[in-house]
Symmetry: C2
Subunit: 358 residues, 2 copies
DNA sequence: CTGTTAGCGCGTTCAA
DNA sequence: TTGAACGCGCTAACAG
């Protein structure tokens, strides 16, 4: 009996192209069973090391499977409902340092535990985020870890996940009205401290540049900033909200418009390292001295934060810890060790690395 | 008739914990069919807009599906053999700039064409890469785009993909003995030019620091470096191979050992921006002046390359173009528009951005 | 220890 | 235009 059967697929296009493609038929447990004169359920058991199969048989099956490079069809396995080892990770941007670090760490963590991670990028678009969630449901992912898009005000699509019994964990940017575990950064507190630090350093006109305050992250930072100003009775308040993308270019423009306005700031707290880099570049252009003319503290970090002159005082977020907690909270839901709405938020601590920029 | 049936799942552990979980049963085409008094095959046709279904029926089905948030089960769809819209992307590191850029771009490209990208990270480990390929086969991915691990000498696992009829495209770091389309950077040529540039600038003792020369990328760079030295009859040759990870730390150590040796280099071409950043930091430590004491050209880029003083002359690789070509070559294979072994390699051009470091 | 049977959800025959 | 029946590959319940 011939084992390796070839399938010829003939493709005829209208342009009289002819492609002929040879492809091995995928070997299945039935093929193995037929060849070995056992029943395919025996093969299934043998492959899964079910103890109720004779060692001799099992070895025969395993040997055959290995020799013929059998690979299980997970679509069939999962259709049976047994399990799904795929986890979805949704982030606004893969190539932003904060997120790529988390993606990298989560990918490793998950793989070590036998899960596979699919990464989805929303590009900060609500509509895309919705589509992605739909895709995730259709593919029966075992769970979802998400940091929401800037654009996202309505979290109904995440409720859909709940309806389909797919566990969910939020990190960093969250939907507050969804009862799922959340891993949060102490944004309010750390921004308070950063502002306080600037005040203590003698800065009088501190601008806080952050994102859309519909998002918890930016709203909390804004709060911390304002609370510090209040505590120290500083009248100058300038909580700026940037709706542009956080890029070097918008940082440049920002400093320009800030400098040509009558706001006359002497310090900036920036929510994005990319903005900050633009601001710095433009400072050079305008011959502004940092920290003398302008003090700077930035959220986020790049290699550059400590390589450039002056080194930038930065607020570092614990990406590893965020990844670990998020994964742990998800895995526990998958294993039914915790129930989503019984979990209180986990708060991780950011840290200010004091350097030369203020 | 009751539509939303609840399923109680009772989990009893040996430790006398009791978890009770309520979950909606997933709605299927059969559920819809039963509710609407039609056959499930009619529902199937209606949902896929098969013209052979009465408009009235179709609208009824679609309305019901939408109202009850029906989501197809892709495991079943794919088990039928219809198709799979998931593409796997394998990279050594997600959080290295070059790769995260490509991941980001590919994710967008693919999504626009109706594909979903799963990203896998090998951490430069051959064994992990093999496992990942196996996972990919088991999940019936529609195609794979890969840049191989430093560790990978043997490409048999990629041959396995071919056996299972899964299209494959290599980019940047490739397996040369596998007959799949490849998107390559003109590494030899550009390193030749970089070396030439240093020579013309008067540097006499140029060190080339690169990775494992089993990998095409680093071997080609090495060649370009040596060819330039040969052309200009330079006797000083120091093609260094770094087997450590490309990190800032190993860059620091590298410069230290280089400086305390009797090699006495006056210029460096570095294959990694992370190494380069370490080298620069250590230059400051040792009070070395760049470019006077040491000229530097680096592969790769970060925001910092143009923000630090001196700005670094860097070799920029066209990530967007690489992503676009790779995706195009994969999609054409998926659609049987091209046959893998008929495709000649695509070479994209890197570019030297001349700045202040040499 | 092994075989038989049924069914996961879907799409595609073939009939009506 | 719709229904009935089948099977994709696999696992589990039941039987022997």
């Amino acid at each position: 009996m011939q084992m390796h059967t070839f399938v010829n697929k003939l493709f005829l296009s209208l342009h009289t192209f002819v492609f002929i493609q040879f492809m091995h038929k995928r070997i299945t447990i039935k093929d193995i069973a037929r060849e070995l004169n056992v029943h395919h359920s025996t093969v299934s058991r043998a492959l899964r090391k079910d103890p109720r199969v004779k060692e001799e048989t099992r070895e025969m099956v395993l040997a055959y499977a290995q020799e013929h490079e059998y690979q299980a069809n997970m679509n069939a396995v999962q259709l049976r409902g047994t399990s799904n080892n795929a986890i979805a990770l949704i982030v606004p941007n893969i190539n932003h340092n904060f997120f790529s670090d988390i993606v990298s760490k989560l990918t490793n963590l998950a793989y070590d535990k036998g899960y596979v991670i699919s990464v989805f990028q929303t590009n900060e678009k609500y509509e895309l985020e919705k589509e992605i969630v739909s895709t995730i449901i259709q593919h029966n992912f075992a769970g979802v870890i998400v940091s929401i898009a800037n654009d996202t005000k309505n979290g109904d699509h995440f409720r859909l996940l709940e309806k389909f019994g797919i566990p969910l964990v939020f990190f960093d940017r969250v939907c507050e009205d969804i009862a799922s575990p959340k891993v949060l950064v102490n944004n309010r507190e750390i921004t308070f401290q950063a502002t306080e630090h600037l005040i203590n350093k003698g800065y009088k006109r501190i601008v806080h540049i952050t994102g859309n305050t519909d998002i918890n992250v930016f709203r909390e930072r804004q709060k911390g900033y304002l609370e510090a100003l209040e505590k120290y009775l500083v009248d100058y308040r300038n909580p700026m909200v940037i709706t542009d993308e956080f890029t070097t270019d918008s940082g440049k423009k920002l400093l320009n418009s800030l400098w040509s306005s009558d706001l006359n700031p002497d310090a900036i707290i920036s929510s994005s390292i990319y903005l900050t880099m633009g601001i710095l570049l433009q400072c050079r252009e305008l011959k502004l001295n940092v920290p003398a003319d302008l003090g700077i503290i930035t959220f986020g970090t790049l290699l550059s934060t400590e390589i450039i002159t002056p080194q930038i005082t930065s607020i570092e977020q614990p990406e590893s810890e965020i990844a670990e907690l998020s994964f742990e909270l998800l895995e526990k839901q998958i294993n039914h060790e915790i129930v989503p709405d019984k979990i209180h938020d986990m708060i991780v601590k950011a840290e200010i690395l004091f350097r030369e920029s203020c």
